[in-house]
């Protein structure tokens, strides 16, 4: 059976409208591609993580203690809701790697005497797990091995609690515990500088003086068990052993980073695609309205022939749906490609034993359905109009649009507004809804640029606050234990190249206010510390007052307290006392959670002599190598954090992603602007072709006539700017809020140059797009244009 004639018309109409259809299809495609990458990757990452956790029995609850005897394990296993328990020895070690000047940080995790763990089961990639009875054998995580070129059989030196040991790598493994392996004090994973070391229990226990004991506990829950009940029971049971509080997966470091990424993906998938679908719907609406107006006689004819209203409505609806189909195909392809790029990006940060499976098929279907729905919604008005058009009316030429005198007329006269300009302004006012929506389209393009580019300004602020205002030290030495202040400072002073040293005391606490509680570390420094400082809300250095507590904004908000309120401080180490402390102020900190006290005040409360748990050191650049060599041999230093190195890694990673992000955002803004401007100008040209031809016949120049065409676009795009800034700021705030977690906050910083850039890009693109359409004016055949029967 041959193709029905009406279908042929459909296909040819689409071919005729290809440029406008493409503009719309591209906007739809952008929405689909973003939906696939964000929501698709959200589902893919979520599913991959879930599968990995289940296969490798990732624990549900975690606890750490100072030292607990192995003999209490049966009691823990007997707790309600507990399915399996793994008791381990965990600790930090300074590593001296061949060919590396700076010490690396090693996280020691013990393997049970039986060899293979019951929980958090590592996947052996190469070699084998260490022999439970072997000596100085370790397995290392694959990222660490890759970055340092290690293979099974290689060796390196570790400073284990003050004892130097040469370790043999027996195997290279992955673990669900360390999908995202970030070292203490690092902003980004530093694969070469941070390694996970799996070591037989006997040896790890010997190294950390924990023979017959453990300091790290993983618990798997029975199905249906309430984690909070188990956590409470564990806390009661472990309290005498220096427990710092059990927690569920949400506070497990690797998991919480993945969780943060998932939250961001989900947020973006809820925020961005709807913008594109809305714009596409609007563009379809604009084009279809014009098409139905132009095809009035044809609609009348079809009705006269006997086509039903439904057939005619469906005919126009199909046109919109065909455009959507084109968009879907492009969007699917682009989305698949983008998702692959994102997978590669994830592979930089997250380590899975199997590939993050690409976008699930269901997401493709959802995206397609949404795109068709958007196109259909956009076509609805015009379609119904075509269906409802009485045939006798359809056959008659449409009445000329009714222009009315507006309140602006006296203004026109007063300002001597030129006739072409009056035509432009009346045109805008004649179709207020269309003009407003067009303007909104431009505003959204500006908003997309503002809303995504704010990250760079935010990161600048974040880096400045974190590295140049707060943490100005070159190196932080993390100590194995709280050491007497005077001796520790003196020892550090003697290290080569040291210019200044400041001690800091950190102690784990639970802050409680009403029914809200937050676990974190209180940090205390001597007044006048200049290396590591605390900033107030305005970014000025502030000293915690005696007897008061400074909280970072996020902690204060989560606890629902402000300056002047009192919080309960439950110390989770030492004597484990509970004190009421007044919140004396709020501080600004973007990374991590923080609470700060005066050094002496904290020690008074703890009823201890002055002790420090970390040393912030400023080092002469020229003596850095000697300094590192010396530190590698310091027995009490468990981790050496190079702040400079952190900053460099962070900058490198960001820079790589900036180029990608910038390109994607520019493409998005381009698609929106092009889609709106091109369609608007084409419709203008179509509606005004007789008018413009008349003007040309009357002797107006091409340039003058072009003003009318370009004028409307220019006015609307200019009016759109402040709206774009406002919407963009709102989206930026939403994105910033959405990215907030206990790990970091991205501040919403919007600098004037962000707005200027966004506006410039959109305005220039709009003008450029209209200029393309304007060229058609030159080809306007004056005689035919006048003859065209509307």
């Amino acid at each position: 059976m041959p193709m029905p004639a009406l279908w042929k018309k459909l296909v040819r109409d689409l071919a005729r409208l290809w440029a406008q259809a493409t503009a719309i299809a591209l906007v739809l495609a952008a929405g689909i591609a973003i939906l696939l990458t964000t929501f698709g990757m959200f589902r893919a990452l979520d599913a991959t993580r879930a599968a990995y956790y289940e296969r490798n029995r990732f624990a549900d609850v975690f606890a750490s203690v100072r030292r607990a005897p192995m003999s209490i394990i049966p009691e823990i296993e007997g707790l309600d809701g507990v399915l399996a328990v793994e008791a381990r020895v965990a600790g930090l070690a300074t590593l001296d790697l061949p060919g590396r000047k700076r010490p690396a940080i090693g996280r020691i995790v013990s393997l049970p005497p039986g060899g293979t763990p019951r929980l958090n089961v590592p996947v052996v990639r190469a070699g084998r797990l260490p022999d439970p009875s072997g000596r100085d054998e370790v397995a290392v995580n694959s990222r660490f091995a890759d970055a340092n070129g290690f293979r099974p059989g290689d060796r390196f030196t570790a400073n284990l609690n003050g004892r130097k040991r040469e370790l043999l790598i027996t195997g290279i493994v992955l673990s669900p515990e360390f999908i995202y392996a970030i070292g203490p004090g690092m902003l980004m994973p530093d694969n070469a500088g941070y390694g996970i070391l799996w070591m037989p229990h006997r040896e790890a226990a010997a190294a950390f003086d924990l023979s017959g004991a453990f300091n790290d506990l993983s618990v798997q829950l029975a199905t249906g068990a309430n984690p909070q009940d188990v956590i409470a029971a564990l806390d009661r049971l472990l309290a005498p052993y220096g427990a710092t509080g059990a927690h569920d997966r949400s506070r497990q470091l690797s998991n919480s980073f993945i969780e943060a990424e998932l939250t961001q993906l989900k947020g973006s998938s809820m925020l961005l695609p709807p913008i594109f679908f809305a714009i596409a719907a609007f563009l379809v609406n604009m084009v279809m309205a014009r098409l139905v107006t132009l095809e009035r006689p044809q609609i009348g004819l079809l009705k006269a022939i006997g086509y039903t209203n439904r057939e005619i409505a469906l005919h126009y609806l199909m046109l919109a749906i065909l455009v959507a189909v084109v968009g879907i195909i492009i969007g699917w392809a682009a989305g698949t490609w983008l998702a692959r790029g994102l997978t590669r990006l994830y592979a930089q940060f997250f380590t899975f034993p199997f590939l993050i499976y690409a976008v699930p098929a269901g997401t493709y279907v959802v995206a397609a359905v949404l795109a068709v729905a958007a196109a259909a919604a956009g076509a609805l008005r015009a379609t119904l109009q075509a269906a409802r058009l009485p045939p006798a009316v359809a056959m008659a030429p449409p009445a000329p649009p009714r222009f009315r005198r507006t309140l602006l007329e006296p203004v026109f006269r007063r300002l001597h507004v030129s006739q072409p300009m009056r035509m432009v302004l009346r045109g805008i006012l004649r179709w207020p809804i269309r003009s407003t929506l067009t303007m909104l389209g431009y505003a959204l393009a500006v908003a997309v640029l503002v809303a995504t580019r704010f990250f760079y300004d935010s990161l600048d602020l974040l880096l400045d606050a974190t590295f140049y205002q707060t943490n100005r030290q070159d190196v932080t030495l993390v100590l194995a234990d709280a050491l007497p202040e005077t001796a520790a400072l003196a020892e550090a002073q003697r290290l080569p190249g040291v210019l200044a040293v400041e001690g800091t005391r950190s102690t784990p606490v639970e802050l409680v206010s009403g029914n809200r509680a937050k676990r974190l570390g209180i940090e205390a420094r001597r007044p006048g510390a200049t290396l590591s400082r605390v900033l107030d809300r305005d970014g000025r250095p502030v000293t915690p007052p005696k007897g008061g507590l400074l909280l970072t904004e996020r902690v204060a908000r989560q606890l629902g307290v402000g300056a002047g309120d009192t919080v309960e401080v439950r110390f989770l180490s030492g004597r484990r006392e509970v004190h009421l402390v007044t919140v004396s102020g709020i501080s600004r900190q973007f990374i991590g959670l923080g609470a700060f006290m005066d050094f002496d005040a904290l020690h008074r409360v703890l009823r201890e002599g002055a002790r420090v748990t970390a040393l912030h050191v400023s080092v002469d650049n020229r003596a850095l190598d000697a300094f590192y060599r010396a530190v590698k041999d310091m027995p009490k230093v468990t981790a050496v954090l190079s702040l400079r190195e952190s900053l460099r890694t962070f900058r490198d990673t960001i820079r790589k992603n900036v180029v990608i992000m910038n390109t994607v955002n520019l493409v998005i803004a381009f698609l929106i602007t092009f889609g709106v401007a091109y369609n608007q100008a084409r419709i203008q040209l179509s509606e005004r072709s007789r008018e413009l031809a008349s003007l040309r016949i009357l002797g107006f120049t091409r340039a003058e006539v072009s003003t009318i065409l370009v004028g409307e676009t220019l006015i609307l795009v200019l009016v759109a700017q402040p709206f774009g800034w406002l919407i963009g700021s709102a989206i930026a705030e939403a994105l910033a809020r959405n990215s907030e977690s206990d790990l970091y906050t991205i501040p919403a910083v919007l600098e004037p140059h962000t707005f200027a850039f966004a506006s410039l890009v959109v305005i220039l693109l709009a003008i450029f797009t209209v200029a393309i359409v304007r060229r058609r004016l030159d080809r306007l055949d004056l005689v035919t244009a006048m003859k065209t029967r509307e």
Binding site: D13, I305, G306, Y307, P390, P391
Partner: protein, 239 residues
């Protein structure tokens, strides 16, 4: 010459149509009573604004009267809803318009197929085009055809469904005399060969000479009606 049957296809009774433009009321039909008989070639003659187009639209089911009745044989068109009117047009009526109203994106043949796609018992599109003498130009787009050719495509499209009535609104209005005569002879031969009841409205008085029956319109009323005892052949007409 054929016998003219006494069989009325259309009967109108006190037909009135008033357009309300908001500011004033325009009476387009002011009590029209007439009968159109089967197989006849009927001409409605009158100046523009006399109401003849309104009447044609109502007869064709494109519009509804404000009051009065229209019967298509026994079918009361005024009692039909939108769906009923669509069905009526689909089955019984062929239209020819002054400006041809071809779909520009479809070829001559495809324009005819628009009709044959939805008709219960159509003739092949090619046959309809042969009937109007366009067998050679079937695959041309409207823009590639002359005005007369376009109008003949429109006629082919109208007759392809084998309609009982063919309603023509100023079919020669946009054509020169010579081309107009060609179109008229196509209409005449369709009327003669297929027996299709044909109603032509025109302000061109020359055309009344070829009609079986003529109605003169002015100001929404039928002023005069008569039958032509000696019909002229289209070729004898000129204007």
């Amino acid at each position: 010459m054929r016998d003219v049957g006494p069989d009325p296809v259309f009967t109108t009774q006190d037909l009135r149509k008033v357009y309300d433009t908001g500011t004033r009321k325009v009476v387009a039909l002011d009590g029209v009573d007439l009968k159109v008989y089967a197989a006849e070639f009927t001409v409605l003659l009158g100046p523009s604004g006399s109401g003849k187009s309104t009447l044609l639209n109502i007869l064709g089911g494109l519009d509804r009267p404000t009051s009065g009745r229209v019967l298509f044989r026994d079918l009361d068109l005024t009692a039909l809803d939108d769906r009923g009117l669509t069905e009526y047009r689909r089955r019984h009526v062929g239209f020819v318009f002054q400006f041809y109203n071809l779909v520009p994106s479809l070829t001559a043949r495809e324009n005819v197929q628009l009709v044959t796609d939805v008709s219960p018992d159509p003739m092949p599109a090619d046959e309809a085009l042969e009937l109007v003498g366009l067998g050679e130009r079937m695959d041309h787009f409207p823009a590639e055809l002359s005005g007369g050719e376009q109008q003949r495509v429109a006629i082919a499209r109208a007759i392809a469904k084998r309609p009982e009535v063919l309603l023509c609104d100023e079919p020669t209005g946009a054509l020169d005399s010579h081309t107009g005569v060609q179109v008229l002879s196509v209409l005449d031969s369709i009327n003669a060969r297929l027996g299709t009841t044909t109603v032509v409205i025109t302000h061109n008085a020359a055309i009344e000479r070829m009609a079986h029956r003529v109605f003169h319109f002015s100001d929404g009323k039928v002023r005069e009606s008569y039958t032509n005892p000696n019909r002229a052949r289209p070729e004898e007409i000129s204007w």
